[in-house]
Symmetry: C2
Subunit: 151 residues, 2 copies
């Protein structure tokens, strides 16, 4: 099936690069730096959640099998993941500086927003949520509350 | 190693029952029904997060390998999981009724709180968070914000 990959690890790495780059691109593409922090957080959280819902099978593999990668490959993937988290982290920081947000702990909020998105790949779809857009809308509301967004 | 289990599935089921019952017990034991909804949510979310951090290896297996269970065993485990989610759902509902909370969507808040706890088993510990109690404190703050808890 995959004649070009000599080992399972190299196949997993190739899939992981593709998956993580795709999630990063989906998130950064949704970001409009000229918008308000509130709108930017809403757009990027929605894109991240929708990516994990629409690509559930791929996302599940690339988010849950990282420990099967070689140390060098793990480091490479970790760097893509960090860039994705930093999209949220920077918007949250800016929102706090502009007093559009009032986080208690910006790092914890970034972790929680990222974690909620990733975990979609474990359970999606469920009985209650099978539409990526509806789920994204709910999670955006929750993310805005987590950062203490001013209405 | 496991002479009493005839198949991998029966071993996974036994571990899954143990893990899910342990998480449910940790959560229900932390709940003091005479406390305020705010204190009850804080105590149960903390217990759920701490359980997933302290039992990371077990939690990872029982939360991520459910689809390898037989349909009947899956149903049984799903019923324990539902009872755990219902602990949060009932407290959130009560909080809304008493106007201690102002959720936008109680079901989404329950899902997010449960999901954040479960996902701890994927990533814990991280560079930033290696103390279950510190993580629980941050996640309690975020959970209270998600449900619109009144200060």
């Amino acid at each position: 099936m995959y004649p070009h990959y000599k080992t399972k690890e190299s196949l997993l790495f190739a899939i992981s690069v593709q998956g993580h780059e795709s999630a990063l691109l989906a998130t950064t593409s949704a970001d409009r730096p000229s918008d308000s922090p509130r709108d930017r957080l809403a757009a990027t959280v929605a894109a991240y959640v929708i990516w994990h819902a629409r690509n559930q099978s791929l996302a599940k593999v690339v988010q849950h099998e990282l420990r099967s990668l070689s140390p060098d490959h793990f480091k490479y993937i970790a760097s893509i993941r960090r860039r994705t988290s930093e999209v949220f982290a920077r918007i949250i920081q800016l929102g706090n500086e502009q007093e559009a947000f009032h986080t208690i702990d910006a790092e914890a909020a970034t972790l929680a927003i990222t974690s909620l998105g990733v975990d979609v790949s474990r359970w999606f779809p469920s009985h209650a949520y099978s539409d990526p857009e509806v789920l994204a809308e709910r999670y955006v509301e929750l993310a805005l509350r987590m950062v203490g967004a001013v209405n």
